[in-house]
Symmetry: C2
Subunit: 457 residues, 2 copies
């Protein structure tokens, strides 16, 4: 049992923070540790800090909670830095941006514009870690994990591991087709949000035939039954189509994206993701925002309301998030099998060494040890992995070079762009939009990008 300092950047995150607090409180071997919350939003920072303290009281956990608005301060003596911070994934900001994109002819914000602001934030945090606590691990929770993990891994000497929960999609698949997820042996490597079920065993037998039979016999009925409640993307027509195309089942966020042709408008979304078009639609996202607001209200109650105890509201079970078990494994040798995003260095054949891949890993005191997995089929490499790798390279070069015309290229590559002029107008609007939270270096990003001279012909 070792006490460590865990710093959580962007601790006000509704998605991550509560789960992290629960897992910390429920991980006995981390007792005596300090958890330092950092956020630029004072109100949210106070909510999560008080909630954590009261939760620890409920569970009798021996943890010390501190908080600060100052990032550099939060990193002093940190052993682990969990970065959940985001600028452009803020729900209110995404909504504003989505609506603005719609005015320019783009459905659901499919503008081809990568999350430069978030990437710059990740790089800034990693450089601070390199300077202030160079031995610390960064566990990257905020998106975009694929390009961000690659960026931090290339531009700093810091130990970086990107984490996502999408791979639990295999769980949903197994359960739906009648298999006990806990008895499944599986493997789904790739790039983050782009992973493929290469191995799927149930009690020693290949479970793909069971999946095939279930699809053959039950998928139409399944879709019919879930018409009103909504089909999860994991078993949507889009997922089945991708499975037919590639021969391996797409897992987690993989079937949420796929080709541009699944996402052109509401009607098309409804065809591929069920009635209403699923979660990645303006209405679906409004439901998510509403859910987050409700959850935040509960978090506030659990933080301040003397009549409410956090454990009553949020229970005493661990989440399935990987951050705290990974820390526990590294620090206390409580061995853990994780699905991680780390620099490739040979784990996944066909992908360059300096690109972050998502692969299974064994974590213990030795470290985060990625498994060298089986190669993916050529077709998946050529149509799914390499295009995504190339977009990532274009994104990082645009960010690091500050060449605005490379940002334009991204917008031009969107299949919803119809003309050069439309792309120019969309780009200008995207660059000019301000995030909801004021952050100093946003200005730097805006100043960063220069146009070629004589842009207009």
């Amino acid at each position: 049992m070792s006490a460590v300092k865990v710093t959580i950047i962007g601790a006000g995150s509704v998605v991550f923070s509560l789960g992290l607090v629960k897992d910390l409180c429920l991980t006995g071997d981390l007792k005596g540790s300090e958890v330092c919350f950092m956020d630029i939003n004072e109100e949210r920072l106070d909510v999560i800090t008080r909630l954590a303290q009261r939760y620890a009281e409920d569970l009798g956990s021996d943890l010390r909670f501190t908080s600060t608005l100052d990032r550099a301060e939060s990193l002093q003596d940190a052993d682990f830095v969990i970065n959940t911070a985001t600028i452009t994934h803020n729900e209110y900001f995404m909504k504003r941006r989505r609506e603005m994109a719609a005015e320019h002819g783009y459905f659901y914000g499919h503008t081809g514009m990568p999350e430069y602001h978030n990437l710059q934030l990740m790089l800034d945090v990693a450089k601070d870690v390199e300077r202030i606590c160079p031995e610390a691990w960064i566990l990257q929770a905020g998106n975009p994990v694929f390009s961000g993990t690659t960026l931090m891994g290339r531009e700093t000497e810091v130990k970086v591991c990107g984490l996502c929960h999408g791979h639990y999609g295999y769980h949903h698949v197994a359960k739906t087709i009648g298999l006990d997820p806990d008895k499944v042996t599986w493997q789904a490597p790739g790039l983050n949000h782009n992973i493929w079920l290469t191995h799927f065993f149930y009690e020693g037998q290949d479970a793909y035939p069971v999946l095939d039979r279930w699809i053959e016999e039950n998928i139409q009925q399944y879709w019919e039954d879930h018409k009103t409640s909504g089909i999860s993307a994991q078993l949507s027509p889009s997922a089945i189509m991708q499975y037919k195309l590639y021969g391996l089942f797409p897992i987690g966020d993989t079937p949420r994206s796929g080709g541009w042709w699944f996402h052109t408008d509401l009607e098309t979304r409804a065809r591929w993701y069920g009635a209403g078009g699923g979660g990645d639609t303006p209405e679906g996202r409004d439901r998510i925002l509403k859910g987050k607001e409700e959850k935040y209200a509960k978090m506030k109650a659990a933080a301040y309301d003397v009549d409410v105890r956090p454990v009553t509201l949020f229970g005493d079970q661990k989440t399935r998030e990987q951050h705290i078990p990974i820390i526990d494994a590294l620090v206390n040798n409580n061995e853990y099998r994780a699905q991680v995003n780390v620099m490739n260095n040979g784990a996944l054949a066909g992908v360059p060494d300096d690109v972050a891949v998502e692969v299974p890993a064994l974590v213990n005191q030795v470290g985060i040890q990625p498994l060298r997995v089986e190669p993916l089929p050529n077709k998946i490499l050529l149509e799914c992995i390499y295009p995504s790798w190339l977009r990532m390279e274009q994104t990082l070069e645009a960010l690091l070079s500050g060449d605005k015309s490379m940002m334009l290229y991204g917008v031009l590559e969107s299949h919803q762009t119809r003309s050069f002029d439309q792309a120019m107008e969309m780009l200008e609007a995207l660059v000019d939009i301000e995030p909801n939270e004021p952050m100093a270096y946003i200005e730097d990003i805006h100043d960063h990008y220069g146009w070629p001279d004589n842009w207009d012909l």
Copy 2:
């Protein structure tokens, strides 16, 4: 002086054959050589054979001309195989296909469908060469040179060199801005139809400043002056925009392609390629077809009309095509500087070894010796070279695997595709269209491609 056997496959080609015949007749050191014409079109084969014989008479050239409809026969004892054959680049076929694509909503045939038939033809020829005359060089003249040269280089042991004349665009640039092209020292490496002027010297000085000044002062007037006669793509607004974006001037066929957004419709083409939209429009292509028909009529006259002598009609000057000078250099050590497409093997940094690059080469009895050139800028690699490399890899995998859904991916990737269904319909129509010339293995190609089971959802 050595006598060799040069076999020309697809000898009926109006674009290439006359020039090859002229260059052969005018290359003294090849005297005593046999030129074997092969084509599947008996009429055209007879025209070129008779024309060549009469031309040789006019010029007193000591060459022997034979002809055959049988490819295997033509390859017996061949030292050089110039492959100009094409299935889908036939003008009549392209016109039919263009019109059909237009009915499906695609302007100028931008369907995203690669030239699988031509690639299969190249591979068949290369395999025949490997079997019948394994020491022969293939000089590949027909398109697509980039993917075809790569394909033949990977799938056979044959010596392959792809050739194009697009790089002479530097000549046009130099002349237009007032420099003597013969005094220019230049370099423009890349992939075929995707080459960039990395070096441009005039009488020992960097000539880029001269080009910049000319653009600044004269380009608007130049466009105005050429409104009626037509602007060449080499100095079109599209070329200037690409130059501004990438910092290097795009050469030859490079500014003819560029981004999809230059080619969406006639109006857009007119903006980027001048009034009428330039050569790559239905009308522009009809003009090219008319020109070819007129040239073929002249070739026929020169072949059969006793009152017409070839030398009177076509002169006695060599062309600038590289095929015969390369043969002359390899056989007779008449050293020649060429621009060739060969397997990379380190000539162009950042591109895999087993991909055909277009680079300068020194040719003599030692062989075709590519120069290891300076690396291209990252931005050109990321936005021009790698996307083209990736499309090539997808194309070859689709061809070699026979997976029709990979052909569909190509159509879906076209920026003129608006929906999945449109792509499916366009693909089916493209697969069903028959080339103008009957060729046995077309059937093989059609049979080759299988759909995944249960394609329809």
